[in-house]
Symmetry: C2
Subunit: 211 residues, 2 copies
DNA sequence: ACAGCAACCTACCGGACGGTCGGTAACATA
DNA sequence: TATGTTACCGACCGTCCGGTAGGTTGCTGT
């Protein structure tokens, strides 16, 4: 059968390729996804797809940068305009989480597969990731200086934050019992306020090391 | 012939194979790891390795079960003997986190690569994972009933917990600025108590929705 | 002394994959 | 009508991978 699509200019097609490829790679993993898989999902052949991309690695690299662009534009940049540090943190967590839950925007997660890139590409992606990480940790440091933070290591805390947010992509499903907004708000609540009530039974108050 | 026992060296070698394979797969990913890679790391050839394993997928499946066994033995089982729910949660987070940081025990993380298994194998692993998850959520429910939990969705909270813990494997490095115990204790503190101090400056108290 | 078996090896196979080459069909421009 | 460009396709190539066949070596029990 021949599907007929008339309106498909270059730019739209490119974006469609990124989006489709990102979804498949997100689901099956980079190595397990063949260029053929991506091409077929787009209704074309491998050779046809190579008209748009210059290689499998380059496609991954482009997608990752696309995802990081989104992150900068929708999370980091708007956050920088919020004056209050606590509110800024709240915004970053919530908007980052919502970016992850958006199926198409799930691109961000591909940041995992850095090992599949060439060393040079990997270094570039890692640098961009680190920039974002450092900004977030800096925000926590700021809060700590204001005395608004619990006594926690800000590096570890940043990783915990990103862990919760990135893990969203593993469990959040559109149409599940939680909406994207609800999931994001849960993460904000847990990250900022923790699980336990401020005033516990007041029986034991010591951090226990294990083993 | 039930009395027939496999010779002793077999078992040691088998365990060594699991541990070595797990480390490589953890670092490079399942698909990017060839059977040859694993064999070479063990100082043998591919055909030699096939003396011990029955296939690449089966190896992965065995490793995953091995990791889940560890999780049951070192986290779930001991936890069940702790009476106080809060202390039980504290123990589970800390011991699970430490299991993840132990280089060799890093096996647990392989739980990601379920898609690489056959459907039947995948179902079995997923079932075991879900068992663990359900136990953890049940613990949170218990705490909630006791009124010791903040107002959070226990399912989302469990995922957040596991997100933080599993993410450890991405950033924790032996010999870094934090010891395994310190990292585990940071996670416990953040998960249970949150990032922010109980009493904030009490200036603005509004939840901001994002964009 | 020798059978038996565990623990490897070299050599090879079929298939899948990333990538290329030389087309072609449709449309725009002039 | 001639020409160029964009968007694709079928066929093919070299490589590497999972897996197998059929050995060889060396220990062990009898």
């Amino acid at each position: 059968m021949k599907a007929q699509k008339k309106s498909a200019p270059n730019n739209d097609r490119q974006a469609e390729i990124y989006r489709t490829a990102a979804q498949i790679i997100l689901r099956k993993g980079y190595d397990a996804t063949s260029v053929n898989d991506i091409a077929n999902a787009l209704g074309m052949t491998k050779a046809g797809l190579y008209h748009y991309i210059s290689g499998k690695k380059e496609l991954l690299f482009d997608i990752m940068n696309f995802g990081l662009d989104e992150l900068d534009e929708e999370v980091a940049a708007p956050a920088k305009e919020i004056l209050d540090a606590e509110e800024r943190l709240r915004f970053m967590i919530a908007s980052h989480a919502q970016l992850v839950t958006r199926g198409q925007g799930a691109i961000t997660i591909l940041v995992d597969e850095v090992t599949a890139l060439t060393p040079a590409q990997g270094r570039k992606i890692t640098r961009r990731k680190r920039e974002y990480f450092d900004y977030m940790r800096g925000l926590l440091d700021e809060l700590k200086n204001e005395g608004r933070l619990q006594d926690v290591d800000t590096t570890a805390a940043t990783f915990c934050l990103l862990g919760m947010i990135n893990w969203l992509s593993r469990w959040f499903r559109q149409g599940g019992s939680l909406t994207a907004e609800q999931a994001a708000s849960q993460i904000v609540r847990i990250a900022l306020g923790g699980l336990l009530r401020p005033g516990p039974p007041a029986s034991k108050r010591g951090l226990r090391a294990v083993k």
